[in-house]
Symmetry: C2
Subunit: 335 residues, 2 copies
């Protein structure tokens, strides 16, 4: 058992983009696991766009991270000692353990994972929350049907890359929107998307007219802002707009940019619907089995972006998401 535990805590609420002063880097004595508990060392920490929302003090689907609290994060830990009957040293466990090097847990809300079945970071990506989010967002909220035209924004990200590949596995035509030629090449050349739109170089509205001439049946939105507005102009009749996130708006210091073209919902008899993946917790197993099958037969290629470093690299790594510097699931691997 280590003597100390390094942690990243929230020092104050960010205004706009998160800056180093918003975090507090703390070293405290490591706690020993009590009766029925286990302890472990953090190996991989998940970085998610949703984290930005957890830092704001406003009502949301989870309470905000409190000032002085350890930053909330999903991670994979390796059990180092255990008084819990279900966990032994050497086991790997996924849970919302927070941004800290050393973890003590009673096991609630955690999941033991097998590194022989999938690389450990995949349990934070395609087989973790991003994969679940893509799966239920597209299939349940989006009510995807074979042969439909699907557009995914943030398509080279953790959720978008899986969502687009699920849509392909389901027999849809898929167009991804991403930033930059490298990400766009990844989508079409490696991940099997039918087309890619580089929002930094192209007029998204025009590009969607070209690539989805009969309109968009399902638009899976991770970004909000102008890209959402462009997609709304190209909806097919009875389209479904799945609101998964709005990363373009999370660092706004002013109001969120609402979709000016929302009246397309009326003209096209379409719906826009939001969801939170936690609501599907009882069905994670079902999704994980189907996703693992697609990964196994190559229909879903897992994209992970590993940054290897120390716990103190968490704040800088998080910023990569908001600058679009990651391709696939961004994970901090503790060296």
């Amino acid at each position: 058992m280590p003597g100390t535990n390094r942690q990243i805590r929230l020092a104050r609420r960010p205004v706009g983009a998160v800056v180093p002063e918003d975090w507090e880097h703390v070293t405290e004595p490591a706690a020993a696991p009590g009766p029925g508990m286990f302890a472990g060392r953090t190996r991989y920490i998940s970085l998610d766009p949703a984290m930005r929302g957890w830092l704001d003090d406003r009502p949301s689907y989870l309470p905000p991270v409190g000032i002085g609290e350890v930053m909330r994060a999903g991670s994979v830990i390796e059990v180092t000692e255990s008084d819990h009957p279900g966990y032994r040293p050497g086991d790997f466990v996924v849970g919302t353990f927070g941004v800290q090097e050393y973890v003590v847990s009673d096991g609630k809300g955690t999941l033991k994972v097998d590194p022989a079945l999938a690389p450990l970071p995949t349990y934070l990506g395609a087989l973790g929350m991003p994969g679940m989010t893509a799966y239920f967002g597209l299939l349940d909220v989006g009510a995807l049907k074979e042969g439909e035209t699907v557009v995914v924004s943030g398509a080279a990200g953790a959720v978008g890359s899986v969502a687009g590949q699920i849509a392909k596995a389901k027999g849809c035509r898929v167009i991804g929107i991403a930033g930059g030629p490298d990400k766009c090449a990844l989508l079409t050349e490696e991940l099997g998307f039918d087309a890619a739109v580089d929002y930094r170089a192209e007029d998204v509205r025009k590009a969607l007219r070209t690539h989805a001439p009969d309109g968009i049946d399902v638009y899976f939105d991770n970004v909000g802002g102008e890209i959402l507005d462009a997609a709304l102009t190209r909806l097919a009749m009875h389209a479904r707009v799945v609101i998964c996130g709005a990363i373009s708006q999370y660092n706004n210091e002013t109001a969120v940019q609402g979709p000016s073209n929302y009246l397309s919902l009326l003209v096209r008899r379409a719906r826009m619907e939001g969801f939170v993946v936690f609501d599907y917790a009882k069905r994670y197993g079902e999704a994980a089995r189907e996703l693992a099958g697609w990964i196994g037969d190559g229909r879903i290629k897992v994209k992970e972006h590993l940054v290897t470093g120390a716990l103190d690299d968490f704040p800088a790594t998080l910023q990569m998401l908001f600058r679009g510097e990651n391709t696939g699931k961004l994970v901090l691997e503790l060296s």
Copy 2:
């Protein structure tokens, strides 16, 4: 048969609010009904917020009214001569006959109505398109359930006043949003709404917090803009936002104001859905029977705002809608 036919035609596309110069007042020779057709004299002309949209040259659920074309409008005519087996002089017929004094038709898309069953203007209001819109928007798109909390904007208008009363008939708690104390008094004192919010005098967001403390299950939106944004902050879990119209935005010279708070759809697992009443044409009979029953037993009180005048009063009467000067269904009665 009259010698001439007065018509209001679209002279040019309005920019922002419609002005007199956008219309052309024309007198042309009246056409005689051909074989299998009937002719009639216009008695009541419907004025609808949607008319503003029909004047813009952009893709919508109906083609725009062409420059030089007779303005599209629903009306009640009285048959004056007929070679059609189904229509006799003295019959009253509802149809999209346009803003003109004298009409010739083959009967397609028209409906004979009985003035003994309901006053003729009611076939343009609670038993016409506004009634159908309220019925299918609330019950089908909104998927209203007994005991839910419903908020209706434009609640003293043709659609809103019926929508709110349908929700009451279905056992819901209903809050109406309208402009001015007279309209608000109408809602609570005459139409049975549980509460009314005067958007001109009150902070709508705060008022909704007071009147819908557990959140809004169904928000039926006729207005868009800031009122839509206020309602979005108060959604209950799994709420349905029905996009029926956006009268606050129709005369904009700049972009439509998109709903900044649309991410509430995510937090509250809610959906926002648009519709066009024409899609329900096959079920109009079902809706009309149920609405007529509620009108008959007093659960729905019909509110009509009759302006008596000449055909040339159409442009000025239409403007009343956008200034909020009507209470209930606005109809021009030709004297």
